[in-house]
Symmetry: C2
Subunit: 219 residues, 2 copies
DNA sequence: CCTACCGATCGGTAGG
DNA sequence: CCTACCGATCGGTAGG
Protein backbone atom coordinates (compact mmCIF):
# COMPACT_ATOMS: atom_id res chain seq x y z
CA UNK A 1 0.00 0.00 0.00
CA UNK A 2 2.58 2.50 1.13
CA UNK A 3 5.68 2.60 -0.95
CA UNK A 4 7.45 4.68 1.67
CA UNK A 5 7.07 2.12 4.37
CA UNK A 6 10.25 0.23 5.22
CA UNK A 7 10.35 -3.44 4.48
CA UNK A 8 9.71 -5.11 7.81
CA UNK A 9 9.69 -8.74 6.75
CA UNK A 10 12.62 -10.88 7.75
CA UNK A 11 15.45 -11.32 5.34
CA UNK A 12 16.27 -14.81 6.53
CA UNK A 13 14.57 -16.72 3.74
CA UNK A 14 15.15 -14.26 0.95
CA UNK A 15 15.80 -15.98 -2.39
CA UNK A 16 19.43 -16.97 -2.66
CA UNK A 17 19.76 -15.64 -6.14
CA UNK A 18 19.16 -12.12 -4.87
CA UNK A 19 22.29 -10.09 -5.34
CA UNK A 20 23.32 -6.69 -6.52
CA UNK A 21 21.28 -3.73 -5.35
CA UNK A 22 18.70 -4.42 -2.67
CA UNK A 23 15.04 -4.88 -3.48
CA UNK A 24 12.44 -2.56 -2.09
CA UNK A 25 9.75 -5.16 -1.51
CA UNK A 26 9.58 -8.91 -1.52
CA UNK A 27 6.81 -9.43 -4.02
CA UNK A 28 7.25 -10.18 -7.64
CA UNK A 29 10.30 -8.57 -8.96
CA UNK A 30 12.34 -10.39 -11.57
CA UNK A 31 11.95 -11.21 -15.25
CA UNK A 32 9.24 -9.82 -17.43
CA UNK A 33 6.59 -9.23 -14.86
CA UNK A 34 7.22 -5.50 -14.72
CA UNK A 35 6.81 -5.49 -18.44
CA UNK A 36 3.59 -7.39 -18.01
CA UNK A 37 2.38 -4.91 -15.40
CA UNK A 38 3.00 -2.10 -17.85
CA UNK A 39 1.10 -3.93 -20.56
CA UNK A 40 -1.92 -4.55 -18.36
CA UNK A 41 -1.97 -1.01 -17.02
CA UNK A 42 -1.62 0.38 -20.51
CA UNK A 43 -4.42 -1.79 -21.87
CA UNK A 44 -6.79 -0.70 -19.13
CA UNK A 45 -5.96 2.98 -19.47
CA UNK A 46 -5.89 3.01 -23.27
CA UNK A 47 -9.30 1.47 -23.28
CA UNK A 48 -10.80 3.85 -20.76
CA UNK A 49 -9.16 7.07 -21.83
CA UNK A 50 -7.89 6.40 -25.31
CA UNK A 51 -4.29 6.31 -26.46
CA UNK A 52 -3.85 10.04 -26.75
CA UNK A 53 -5.74 10.63 -23.54
CA UNK A 54 -3.32 8.48 -21.60
CA UNK A 55 0.14 9.75 -20.74
CA UNK A 56 3.10 7.50 -20.22
CA UNK A 57 3.14 9.01 -16.73
CA UNK A 58 -0.36 7.66 -16.11
CA UNK A 59 0.79 4.22 -17.12
CA UNK A 60 3.94 4.40 -15.03
CA UNK A 61 1.94 5.40 -11.97
CA UNK A 62 -0.57 2.61 -12.50
CA UNK A 63 2.31 0.14 -12.67
CA UNK A 64 3.97 1.64 -9.60
CA UNK A 65 6.85 3.24 -11.44
CA UNK A 66 8.31 6.67 -11.98
CA UNK A 67 7.65 8.73 -15.06
CA UNK A 68 10.68 7.73 -17.10
CA UNK A 69 10.67 4.03 -16.29
CA UNK A 70 8.31 2.70 -18.95
CA UNK A 71 10.96 3.63 -21.49
CA UNK A 72 13.29 1.12 -19.93
CA UNK A 73 10.86 -1.58 -21.03
CA UNK A 74 9.45 -0.11 -24.23
CA UNK A 75 11.19 1.99 -26.81
CA UNK A 76 8.26 4.38 -27.13
CA UNK A 77 4.66 4.90 -26.16
CA UNK A 78 3.78 3.67 -29.60
CA UNK A 79 5.67 0.41 -29.09
CA UNK A 80 3.69 -0.10 -25.91
CA UNK A 81 0.44 0.32 -27.79
CA UNK A 82 1.53 -2.12 -30.43
CA UNK A 83 2.54 -4.68 -27.80
CA UNK A 84 -0.91 -4.41 -26.22
CA UNK A 85 -2.61 -4.98 -29.54
CA UNK A 86 -0.41 -7.87 -30.54
CA UNK A 87 -1.03 -9.58 -27.22
CA UNK A 88 -4.74 -9.08 -27.82
CA UNK A 89 -4.62 -10.70 -31.22
CA UNK A 90 -2.57 -13.64 -29.97
CA UNK A 91 -5.06 -14.32 -27.22
CA UNK A 92 -7.95 -14.07 -29.66
CA UNK A 93 -6.35 -16.46 -32.12
CA UNK A 94 -5.55 -18.93 -29.37
CA UNK A 95 -9.04 -18.82 -27.92
CA UNK A 96 -10.56 -19.24 -31.34
CA UNK A 97 -8.50 -22.36 -32.06
CA UNK A 98 -9.41 -23.90 -28.72
CA UNK A 99 -13.09 -23.22 -29.30
CA UNK A 100 -13.07 -25.08 -32.59
CA UNK A 101 -11.08 -28.03 -31.31
CA UNK A 102 -12.67 -28.32 -27.88
CA UNK A 103 -13.25 -31.83 -26.56
CA UNK A 104 -15.11 -32.80 -29.71
CA UNK A 105 -15.03 -31.28 -33.17
CA UNK A 106 -18.07 -29.18 -34.18
CA UNK A 107 -21.13 -31.29 -34.97
CA UNK A 108 -21.97 -29.18 -38.00
CA UNK A 109 -21.51 -25.75 -39.52
CA UNK A 110 -24.01 -24.08 -37.20
CA UNK A 111 -22.22 -25.54 -34.21
CA UNK A 112 -18.90 -24.25 -35.48
CA UNK A 113 -20.49 -20.85 -35.96
CA UNK A 114 -21.81 -20.84 -32.43
CA UNK A 115 -18.36 -21.63 -31.09
CA UNK A 116 -16.72 -18.91 -33.13
CA UNK A 117 -19.24 -16.32 -32.01
CA UNK A 118 -19.03 -17.26 -28.38
CA UNK A 119 -15.23 -17.26 -28.37
CA UNK A 120 -15.29 -13.86 -30.02
CA UNK A 121 -17.61 -12.45 -27.38
CA UNK A 122 -15.54 -13.87 -24.57
CA UNK A 123 -12.37 -12.31 -25.85
CA UNK A 124 -14.15 -9.05 -26.40
CA UNK A 125 -16.39 -8.80 -23.38
CA UNK A 126 -14.77 -10.98 -20.76
CA UNK A 127 -13.67 -9.34 -17.51
CA UNK A 128 -10.25 -7.74 -17.76
CA UNK A 129 -10.04 -8.30 -21.50
CA UNK A 130 -8.97 -4.81 -22.48
CA UNK A 131 -6.38 -5.81 -25.03
CA UNK A 132 -8.67 -6.63 -27.94
CA UNK A 133 -10.95 -3.61 -27.45
CA UNK A 134 -7.88 -1.40 -27.52
CA UNK A 135 -6.89 -3.03 -30.77
CA UNK A 136 -10.30 -2.40 -32.27
CA UNK A 137 -10.51 1.24 -31.32
CA UNK A 138 -7.00 2.64 -31.39
CA UNK A 139 -5.40 1.25 -34.50
CA UNK A 140 -5.41 4.66 -36.09
CA UNK A 141 -2.65 5.55 -33.64
CA UNK A 142 -0.33 2.94 -35.14
CA UNK A 143 2.28 3.61 -37.77
CA UNK A 144 1.63 2.19 -41.22
CA UNK A 145 4.19 -0.55 -40.68
CA UNK A 146 2.70 -1.63 -37.38
CA UNK A 147 -0.78 -1.54 -38.82
CA UNK A 148 0.34 -3.83 -41.60
CA UNK A 149 1.89 -6.33 -39.20
CA UNK A 150 -1.27 -6.39 -37.13
CA UNK A 151 -3.41 -6.74 -40.22
CA UNK A 152 -1.70 -10.07 -40.91
CA UNK A 153 -2.88 -11.41 -37.58
CA UNK A 154 -6.37 -10.12 -38.23
CA UNK A 155 -6.45 -11.83 -41.60
CA UNK A 156 -5.46 -15.07 -39.90
CA UNK A 157 -8.24 -14.64 -37.38
CA UNK A 158 -10.91 -13.76 -39.89
CA UNK A 159 -9.90 -16.45 -42.35
CA UNK A 160 -11.13 -19.09 -39.93
CA UNK A 161 -14.66 -17.80 -40.35
CA UNK A 162 -14.74 -18.18 -44.11
CA UNK A 163 -15.10 -21.96 -44.50
CA UNK A 164 -17.73 -22.00 -41.77
CA UNK A 165 -19.73 -19.27 -43.47
CA UNK A 166 -19.28 -20.98 -46.82
CA UNK A 167 -20.71 -24.21 -45.44
CA UNK A 168 -23.66 -22.31 -44.00
CA UNK A 169 -24.20 -20.61 -47.31
CA UNK A 170 -24.05 -23.93 -49.12
CA UNK A 171 -26.68 -25.53 -46.90
CA UNK A 172 -28.94 -22.50 -47.07
CA UNK A 173 -28.65 -21.29 -43.51
CA UNK A 174 -26.85 -18.17 -44.66
CA UNK A 175 -28.32 -16.23 -47.56
CA UNK A 176 -26.06 -13.23 -48.01
CA UNK A 177 -22.72 -13.44 -49.87
CA UNK A 178 -20.02 -15.02 -47.72
CA UNK A 179 -17.55 -12.16 -47.77
CA UNK A 180 -20.01 -9.40 -47.01
CA UNK A 181 -21.58 -11.65 -44.38
CA UNK A 182 -18.26 -12.02 -42.65
CA UNK A 183 -17.70 -8.28 -42.61
CA UNK A 184 -21.19 -7.45 -41.42
CA UNK A 185 -21.26 -10.17 -38.79
CA UNK A 186 -17.88 -9.32 -37.33
CA UNK A 187 -19.00 -5.69 -37.26
CA UNK A 188 -22.10 -6.57 -35.28
CA UNK A 189 -20.00 -8.55 -32.84
CA UNK A 190 -17.26 -5.96 -32.51
CA UNK A 191 -19.72 -3.18 -31.89
CA UNK A 192 -21.02 -4.90 -28.76
CA UNK A 193 -17.99 -3.45 -27.01
CA UNK A 194 -19.77 -0.12 -27.22
CA UNK A 195 -22.95 -1.13 -25.46
CA UNK A 196 -22.66 -4.50 -23.77
CA UNK A 197 -22.68 -4.35 -19.99
CA UNK A 198 -21.82 -7.59 -18.22
CA UNK A 199 -23.48 -6.38 -15.03
CA UNK A 200 -26.93 -5.94 -16.49
CA UNK A 201 -29.05 -7.02 -19.42
CA UNK A 202 -28.19 -10.06 -21.46
CA UNK A 203 -25.43 -12.57 -20.76
CA UNK A 204 -22.82 -13.62 -23.28
CA UNK A 205 -24.79 -16.81 -23.88
CA UNK A 206 -27.99 -14.91 -24.60
CA UNK A 207 -26.06 -12.63 -26.89
CA UNK A 208 -24.69 -15.62 -28.74
CA UNK A 209 -28.15 -17.09 -29.14
CA UNK A 210 -29.52 -13.81 -30.44
CA UNK A 211 -26.70 -13.47 -32.95
CA UNK A 212 -27.30 -16.97 -34.29
CA UNK A 213 -31.02 -16.33 -34.63
CA UNK A 214 -30.33 -13.08 -36.38
CA UNK A 215 -27.81 -14.36 -38.89
CA UNK A 216 -28.79 -17.96 -39.55
CA UNK A 217 -31.87 -19.75 -40.72
CA UNK A 218 -32.84 -22.87 -38.80
CA UNK A 219 -31.40 -26.03 -40.25
CA UNK B 1 -3.53 29.47 -53.56
CA UNK B 2 -1.07 32.04 -52.31
CA UNK B 3 -2.28 34.02 -49.35
CA UNK B 4 0.56 36.51 -49.75
CA UNK B 5 -0.45 37.51 -53.23
CA UNK B 6 -2.06 40.94 -53.45
CA UNK B 7 -5.70 41.09 -54.50
CA UNK B 8 -5.56 42.05 -58.17
CA UNK B 9 -9.27 42.07 -58.97
CA UNK B 10 -10.87 45.42 -59.57
CA UNK B 11 -12.59 47.17 -56.70
CA UNK B 12 -15.19 48.86 -58.90
CA UNK B 13 -18.00 46.40 -58.32
CA UNK B 14 -17.24 45.54 -54.74
CA UNK B 15 -20.40 45.04 -52.65
CA UNK B 16 -21.74 48.36 -51.47
CA UNK B 17 -22.31 47.14 -47.96
CA UNK B 18 -18.59 46.72 -47.51
CA UNK B 19 -17.39 49.13 -44.85
CA UNK B 20 -15.09 49.18 -41.88
CA UNK B 21 -11.82 47.31 -42.27
CA UNK B 22 -11.04 46.15 -45.77
CA UNK B 23 -11.49 42.54 -46.82
CA UNK B 24 -8.57 40.49 -47.95
CA UNK B 25 -10.36 38.60 -50.69
CA UNK B 26 -13.66 38.93 -52.44
CA UNK B 27 -15.09 35.51 -51.84
CA UNK B 28 -17.46 34.47 -49.12
CA UNK B 29 -17.00 36.46 -46.03
CA UNK B 30 -20.03 37.36 -43.96
CA UNK B 31 -22.40 35.53 -41.61
CA UNK B 32 -21.88 32.01 -40.41
CA UNK B 33 -19.96 30.64 -43.32
CA UNK B 34 -16.63 30.89 -41.52
CA UNK B 35 -18.18 28.91 -38.72
CA UNK B 36 -19.33 26.37 -41.28
CA UNK B 37 -15.87 26.19 -42.76
CA UNK B 38 -14.48 25.41 -39.34
CA UNK B 39 -17.06 22.70 -38.79
CA UNK B 40 -16.31 21.00 -42.10
CA UNK B 41 -12.57 21.22 -41.63
CA UNK B 42 -12.87 19.89 -38.10
CA UNK B 43 -15.08 16.99 -39.18
CA UNK B 44 -12.65 15.96 -41.87
CA UNK B 45 -9.60 16.20 -39.66
CA UNK B 46 -11.21 14.63 -36.60
CA UNK B 47 -12.18 11.70 -38.72
CA UNK B 48 -8.81 11.24 -40.32
CA UNK B 49 -6.56 11.95 -37.37
CA UNK B 50 -8.82 11.65 -34.36
CA UNK B 51 -9.82 14.38 -31.95
CA UNK B 52 -6.63 14.31 -29.90
CA UNK B 53 -4.52 13.93 -32.99
CA UNK B 54 -5.88 17.15 -34.44
CA UNK B 55 -4.76 20.50 -33.08
CA UNK B 56 -6.91 23.60 -33.21
CA UNK B 57 -4.07 25.02 -35.27
CA UNK B 58 -4.60 22.27 -37.87
CA UNK B 59 -8.24 23.17 -38.07
CA UNK B 60 -7.54 26.88 -38.31
CA UNK B 61 -5.10 26.33 -41.14
CA UNK B 62 -7.53 24.10 -43.03
CA UNK B 63 -10.15 26.84 -42.74
CA UNK B 64 -7.67 29.51 -43.80
CA UNK B 65 -7.37 31.17 -40.42
CA UNK B 66 -4.70 31.93 -37.86
CA UNK B 67 -4.11 29.83 -34.80
CA UNK B 68 -6.24 31.73 -32.33
CA UNK B 69 -9.20 32.40 -34.59
CA UNK B 70 -11.26 29.26 -34.09
CA UNK B 71 -11.83 30.45 -30.54
CA UNK B 72 -13.68 33.45 -31.86
CA UNK B 73 -16.29 31.04 -33.22
CA UNK B 74 -16.18 28.25 -30.64
CA UNK B 75 -15.63 28.49 -26.93
CA UNK B 76 -13.30 25.52 -26.91
CA UNK B 77 -11.98 22.66 -28.98
CA UNK B 78 -14.47 20.48 -27.17
CA UNK B 79 -17.37 22.70 -28.18
CA UNK B 80 -16.23 22.36 -31.78
CA UNK B 81 -16.28 18.59 -31.49
CA UNK B 82 -19.73 18.64 -29.99
CA UNK B 83 -21.01 20.91 -32.76
CA UNK B 84 -19.69 18.49 -35.36
CA UNK B 85 -21.43 15.57 -33.72
CA UNK B 86 -24.70 17.37 -33.23
CA UNK B 87 -24.72 18.42 -36.87
CA UNK B 88 -24.09 14.79 -37.78
CA UNK B 89 -27.03 13.57 -35.74
CA UNK B 90 -29.36 16.22 -37.13
CA UNK B 91 -28.51 15.25 -40.67
CA UNK B 92 -28.99 11.57 -39.87
CA UNK B 93 -32.38 12.16 -38.28
CA UNK B 94 -33.50 14.30 -41.18
CA UNK B 95 -32.37 11.79 -43.78
CA UNK B 96 -34.03 8.99 -41.91
CA UNK B 97 -37.37 10.79 -41.81
CA UNK B 98 -37.22 11.58 -45.52
CA UNK B 99 -36.42 7.97 -46.34
CA UNK B 100 -39.50 6.72 -44.53
CA UNK B 101 -41.82 9.33 -45.97
CA UNK B 102 -40.44 9.42 -49.48
CA UNK B 103 -42.94 9.79 -52.32
CA UNK B 104 -44.95 6.86 -51.03
CA UNK B 105 -45.06 5.27 -47.60
CA UNK B 106 -43.28 1.93 -47.22
CA UNK B 107 -45.15 -0.96 -48.82
CA UNK B 108 -44.43 -3.24 -45.86
CA UNK B 109 -42.07 -3.79 -42.97
CA UNK B 110 -39.31 -5.18 -45.15
CA UNK B 111 -39.53 -2.13 -47.39
CA UNK B 112 -39.30 0.16 -44.37
CA UNK B 113 -36.27 -1.79 -43.21
CA UNK B 114 -34.61 -1.43 -46.57
CA UNK B 115 -35.14 2.32 -46.50
CA UNK B 116 -33.77 2.63 -42.99
CA UNK B 117 -30.68 0.64 -43.82
CA UNK B 118 -29.98 2.49 -47.01
CA UNK B 119 -30.43 5.90 -45.40
CA UNK B 120 -28.10 4.81 -42.63
CA UNK B 121 -25.43 3.75 -45.11
CA UNK B 122 -25.75 6.96 -47.06
CA UNK B 123 -25.27 9.11 -44.01
CA UNK B 124 -22.37 6.96 -42.91
CA UNK B 125 -20.59 6.24 -46.16
CA UNK B 126 -21.60 9.07 -48.47
CA UNK B 127 -18.85 11.30 -49.86
CA UNK B 128 -17.94 14.10 -47.50
CA UNK B 129 -20.07 12.71 -44.72
CA UNK B 130 -17.50 12.92 -41.95
CA UNK B 131 -19.80 14.23 -39.26
CA UNK B 132 -21.49 10.98 -38.29
CA UNK B 133 -18.32 8.88 -38.35
CA UNK B 134 -16.73 11.40 -36.02
CA UNK B 135 -19.71 11.03 -33.73
CA UNK B 136 -19.39 7.27 -33.73
CA UNK B 137 -15.71 7.15 -32.98
CA UNK B 138 -14.88 10.13 -30.80
CA UNK B 139 -17.66 10.34 -28.27
CA UNK B 140 -15.27 9.33 -25.52
CA UNK B 141 -13.76 12.80 -25.88
CA UNK B 142 -17.02 14.46 -24.85
CA UNK B 143 -17.84 15.60 -21.36
CA UNK B 144 -20.52 13.63 -19.54
CA UNK B 145 -23.05 16.42 -20.04
CA UNK B 146 -22.43 16.61 -23.77
CA UNK B 147 -22.54 12.87 -24.08
CA UNK B 148 -25.93 12.85 -22.38
CA UNK B 149 -27.30 15.52 -24.72
CA UNK B 150 -26.12 13.60 -27.73
CA UNK B 151 -27.50 10.36 -26.36
CA UNK B 152 -30.97 11.91 -26.54
CA UNK B 153 -30.60 12.42 -30.25
CA UNK B 154 -29.31 8.89 -30.67
CA UNK B 155 -32.29 7.51 -28.79
CA UNK B 156 -34.58 9.43 -31.12
CA UNK B 157 -32.79 8.01 -34.12
CA UNK B 158 -32.75 4.44 -32.90
CA UNK B 159 -36.33 4.52 -31.68
CA UNK B 160 -37.50 4.70 -35.27
CA UNK B 161 -36.12 1.24 -35.89
CA UNK B 162 -38.06 -0.45 -33.13
CA UNK B 163 -41.58 -0.58 -34.62
CA UNK B 164 -40.13 -1.74 -37.92
CA UNK B 165 -38.18 -4.52 -36.25
CA UNK B 166 -41.20 -5.42 -34.16
CA UNK B 167 -43.33 -5.80 -37.27
CA UNK B 168 -40.67 -7.99 -38.86
CA UNK B 169 -40.51 -10.07 -35.75
CA UNK B 170 -44.28 -10.42 -35.69
CA UNK B 171 -44.43 -11.65 -39.25
CA UNK B 172 -41.55 -14.05 -38.79
CA UNK B 173 -38.97 -12.34 -40.96
CA UNK B 174 -36.88 -11.52 -37.92
CA UNK B 175 -36.23 -14.28 -35.42
CA UNK B 176 -33.98 -12.73 -32.77
CA UNK B 177 -35.36 -10.53 -29.96
CA UNK B 178 -36.16 -7.02 -31.17
CA UNK B 179 -33.93 -5.10 -28.82
CA UNK B 180 -30.83 -7.24 -29.29
CA UNK B 181 -31.54 -7.28 -33.01
CA UNK B 182 -31.51 -3.52 -33.10
CA UNK B 183 -28.22 -3.34 -31.27
CA UNK B 184 -26.55 -6.03 -33.35
CA UNK B 185 -27.85 -4.70 -36.66
CA UNK B 186 -26.85 -1.11 -35.99
CA UNK B 187 -23.46 -2.40 -34.94
CA UNK B 188 -23.03 -4.25 -38.22
CA UNK B 189 -24.00 -1.11 -40.12
CA UNK B 190 -21.86 1.25 -38.07
CA UNK B 191 -18.81 -0.95 -38.41
CA UNK B 192 -18.86 -0.59 -42.20
CA UNK B 193 -17.17 2.75 -41.63
CA UNK B 194 -14.07 0.76 -40.79
CA UNK B 195 -13.84 -1.24 -44.00
CA UNK B 196 -16.16 0.07 -46.68
CA UNK B 197 -14.41 1.71 -49.60
CA UNK B 198 -16.62 3.56 -52.02
CA UNK B 199 -13.97 3.33 -54.70
CA UNK B 200 -13.81 -0.44 -54.86
CA UNK B 201 -15.78 -3.49 -53.93
CA UNK B 202 -19.49 -3.36 -53.29
CA UNK B 203 -21.75 -0.37 -53.75
CA UNK B 204 -24.09 0.98 -51.10
CA UNK B 205 -26.97 -0.76 -52.84
CA UNK B 206 -25.21 -4.10 -52.83
CA UNK B 207 -24.38 -3.59 -49.20
CA UNK B 208 -28.01 -2.88 -48.44
CA UNK B 209 -29.09 -6.03 -50.27
CA UNK B 210 -26.56 -8.11 -48.39
CA UNK B 211 -27.66 -6.71 -45.05
CA UNK B 212 -31.29 -7.51 -45.78
CA UNK B 213 -30.43 -11.04 -46.83
CA UNK B 214 -28.35 -11.50 -43.73
CA UNK B 215 -30.87 -10.21 -41.22
CA UNK B 216 -34.27 -11.05 -42.69
CA UNK B 217 -35.99 -14.15 -43.89
CA UNK B 218 -37.85 -13.89 -47.18
CA UNK B 219 -41.50 -12.92 -46.76
C1' DC C 1 -10.49 37.65 -36.92
C1' DC C 2 -5.04 38.44 -36.18
C1' DT C 3 -0.73 38.97 -33.17
C1' DA C 4 1.81 37.63 -29.57
C1' DC C 5 2.00 35.13 -25.82
C1' DC C 6 1.36 32.13 -21.41
C1' DG C 7 1.09 27.96 -18.62
C1' DA C 8 0.76 23.26 -18.72
C1' DT C 9 1.55 18.79 -20.34
C1' DC C 10 3.91 15.42 -22.68
C1' DG C 11 7.22 11.98 -24.90
C1' DG C 12 11.57 11.00 -24.37
C1' DT C 13 16.63 10.99 -22.63
C1' DA C 14 21.16 11.14 -19.87
C1' DG C 15 23.37 9.53 -16.30
C1' DG C 16 23.47 7.00 -12.58
C1' DC D 1 14.50 1.37 -12.70
C1' DC D 2 14.87 6.54 -10.59
C1' DT D 3 16.12 11.66 -10.89
C1' DA D 4 16.20 15.63 -13.24
C1' DC D 5 15.53 17.67 -17.21
C1' DC D 6 14.82 19.26 -22.27
C1' DG D 7 12.30 20.64 -26.42
C1' DA D 8 8.07 20.74 -28.53
C1' DT D 9 3.30 21.15 -28.83
C1' DC D 10 -0.98 22.54 -27.45
C1' DG D 11 -5.42 24.86 -25.80
C1' DG D 12 -6.60 29.10 -24.78
C1' DT D 13 -6.44 34.38 -23.96
C1' DA D 14 -5.66 39.62 -24.13
C1' DG D 15 -5.81 43.31 -26.72
C1' DG D 16 -6.49 45.24 -30.71
Amino acid sequence: MDKMQADTTTDADAPKRARGRPRKTLDERDDGNRRQALLSAAAKLFRRQGFDGTSTRDIATAAGMQSGSPFYHFKSKDALLYAVMEAGMFSAIERQAKALQGKAPPANAADAMRRLIKAHFEVLLGPGNDFVPVMLYEHRALSAAERAKLAQLQVRYEAVWTPVLQALHDNGQLQAPVKLSRLLILGALNWTVQWFDRRKGASVDELTDAALLLFLRAD
